[in-house]
Symmetry: C2
Subunit: 400 residues, 2 copies
């Protein structure tokens, strides 16, 4: 028997890597890891206000929220961070009720500078308190209308580089400035991201992992059109939301063959969602991959005490177990039960601990993964043409 074939992968890892290296010249997020954070830290040191209110939506808040939510109880933070990100009137009112406005710095963040939610809320704030150079900071593109506003009022502003998209902007001023102000170590954030950058571009572990994973996701996208991130810590709830935007908005695109692409992101939290979504994963249709994220060290010694509860003695076997062990054993039990089924693609990411480097490394790796998936799918990860139609319709409605 003779045999010939050309069943090579349509695109090799090497080719993808070369495309990423070329793209890196134009797409700004890759190189944010090389920034010197001094200018942000210097500004942060001068902030006297106790409350920091970020006014923004989508890419202007999600990454910052992810990092803040992850770290806020584990770090001794000096200030409180709030986010005004929706036009829901009840949300705006209830949040502002709890904030002392005359001890607040307002950070208005909008890449385009004319985001309707952001400017609406900022206008409302202006009716409650005078916003000027003493209590306002602007983060936007250098030539936006919001930048003009800042200049006209001598308000300090930081730029969002034009080639850094909103959902890839967490390591620009968008994330670093508010995080530095509340006391998060942005050098460590940049360092964690840089480790992933270096490992990817030197083609070591991160490169291997990201290429393998992206190829799998894209090659099986028609069977497994849903990617579940199952994070075993409530501290990762913000990360999940950030991941959903990154994945959904970057990969939900029409490809070069005019074919609709899209991998649907779902973010769930363990152990809570063992009591919600896990049943669907285990017995439902095989349309999902599962990525479990574990935190190795919670830096907590909270223990289940040996308390005798009459009637409940059958649960005494949990006495003396640390909660951090319990949650990780719960994760492991879930992983084992999924792996025992043998037909659900599942991977596990263990991050070291609840610190800046860990979360930054995780987020930067997900940015890389998104970029690489987009290359395999022949789509542009960095635009979002699908949301424009709604914006135009809204403008017409409001101008009536």
């Amino acid at each position: 028997m003779k045999y010939q074939h050309n069943f090579n992968p349509t695109i090799s890892d090497e080719d993808i890597f070369e495309e990423i290296v070329i793209e890196k010249e134009d797409i700004g997020y890759y190189n944010l890891v090389h920034q010197d954070g001094s200018v942000f830290k210097k500004y942060a040191e001068g902030v006297k206000q106790k409350n920091i209110v970020v006014i923004g939506i989508g890419g202007s808040t999600l990454g910052t929220y992810a990092i803040y939510k992850f770290l806020k109880y584990s770090k001794n933070l000096s200030k409180k961070l709030y986010f005004l990100e929706t036009t829901d009137p009840i949300d705006i009112k209830s949040k502002l009720e709890n904030i002392e406005l005359d001890d607040t710095l307002f950070i208005v963040i909008s890449k385009s500078g004319t985001t309707i939610e952001t400017i609406s809320i900022f206008k409302y704030i202006n009716s409650l308190i005078k916003c000027d150079k003493n209590n306002t900071l602007v983060i936007t593109e250098s030539d936006s209308k919001l930048s003009e506003y800042a200049k006209a009022n001598e308000i300090m502003s930081f730029n969002i580089p034009k080639n850094v998209g909103g959902r890839f902007s967490v390591f620009s001023a968008v994330g670093l400035v508010p995080l530095a102000i509340v006391g998060i170590d942005i050098d460590q954030l940049l360092s964690g991201a840089k480790e992933m950058h270096d490992s990817f571009f030197s083609k070591t572990q991160t490169y291997e992992r990201v290429l393998k994973k992206a190829r799998f996701f894209v090659e099986y996208k028609n069977s497994f059109n849903i990617n579940v991130v199952f994070s075993y810590s409530s501290r990762l709830e913000g990360f999940n939301k950030w991941y959903i935007q990154l994945w959904g908005e970057s990969l939900g695109k029409i490809d070069i063959n005019s074919t609709r692409q899209g991998l649907t992101p779902i973010g769930i939290i363990g152990p809570i969602d063992q009591h919600s979504f896990l049943q669907l994963i285990v017995e439902g249709r095989r349309d999902k991959t599962v990525t479990v994220i574990k935190v190795e060290d919670f830096d907590s010694n909270l223990v289940i005490p040996s308390v005798r509860l009459e009637g409940l003695e059958e649960l005494d076997y949990i006495d003396g177990i640390e909660f951090s062990s319990l949650i990780n054993e719960q994760a492991d039990a879930t992983i084992e039960s999924i792996n025992n089924l043998n037909d659900i693609p599942c991977d596990v990411i263990s991050i070291d601990s609840v610190n800046e480097k860990s979360i930054a490394a995780l987020m930067y790796e997900y940015e890389l993964l998104t970029s690489v998936c987009a290359k395999f799918m022949y789509i542009n990860a960095y635009d979002q043409p699908g949301v424009e139609a709604g914006k135009i319709i809204l403008k017409q409605k409001l101008k009536k």
Copy 2:
């Protein structure tokens, strides 16, 4: 040309309805609307503590949280409600730090009575403060180990009927007791649910709507395996989570032909997720239905003021618009942009206002919808066999 066929729907609306009527004899949630809430209200009146901490997970908390989150800023509530629902040590510690424990009622909720997360946390609480009949309430099945504990310690307890599943238990003591204690009108909740019940079982609007929708979801489940609920109010974030459990855990099942079924629930919030998930809906694969939920009346007069921001004059057209109008116009613009595409199944639910009847009606309708979908899919909506394997593995790990 002659033609014969037997292409009738495999199962008629009438047949489904008959099955639901039969099921109603055994499945308890349907009839919770006929309860008299007096006994719950009487207990609630006697509660002196200012803080109410629910210790529970999954079906023991999600429905209560959904209603509380929806109403808490619109009602003048007398007490604060907290939820301890995860074994994440940082979550437990940070929540408890802000609660005055000696002015707290602890409500331990577990249907089985031996939920590991719930008992672990309750044991921990017991090491911080003496838990007895003065500050503890138990809600569980009548013959559970937790019920034994309550009896042994003369602690008040309410029963979860055996035929009411956790995720369908919001209108039992599970939801009604904590909600009544904090000052939510549970008669109005039951009344809102009862309206839907009556409309369904008298085969009027709710019947028409639920049957049509369920049939569509099930008949097109292989094309549209994902059901997105797009709620245009941050107050519905808890509802979204509750929906995800209800839908995922009830419909992710193996059917009578040993075929894996499952409709994947996704909950997103407008306008925030216009900047996150909408791109994927619009340009991604056609694997999603979209249900938009709007709140007609936010009972808010928060207005975008006519504040002049130099440089940003192009946005002056939003001046004078109420935020409640803006968010609803945003919803309408999204709906219009989706409908213009002509290939994304989309329906819109408008609830009246931010009150008890509205949220209860919405939740009861979703329970009915879930039951009807399960009938069309030939599955049991009320069990969750898929999560047992993980529980057994966990027990083995912990006993080591």
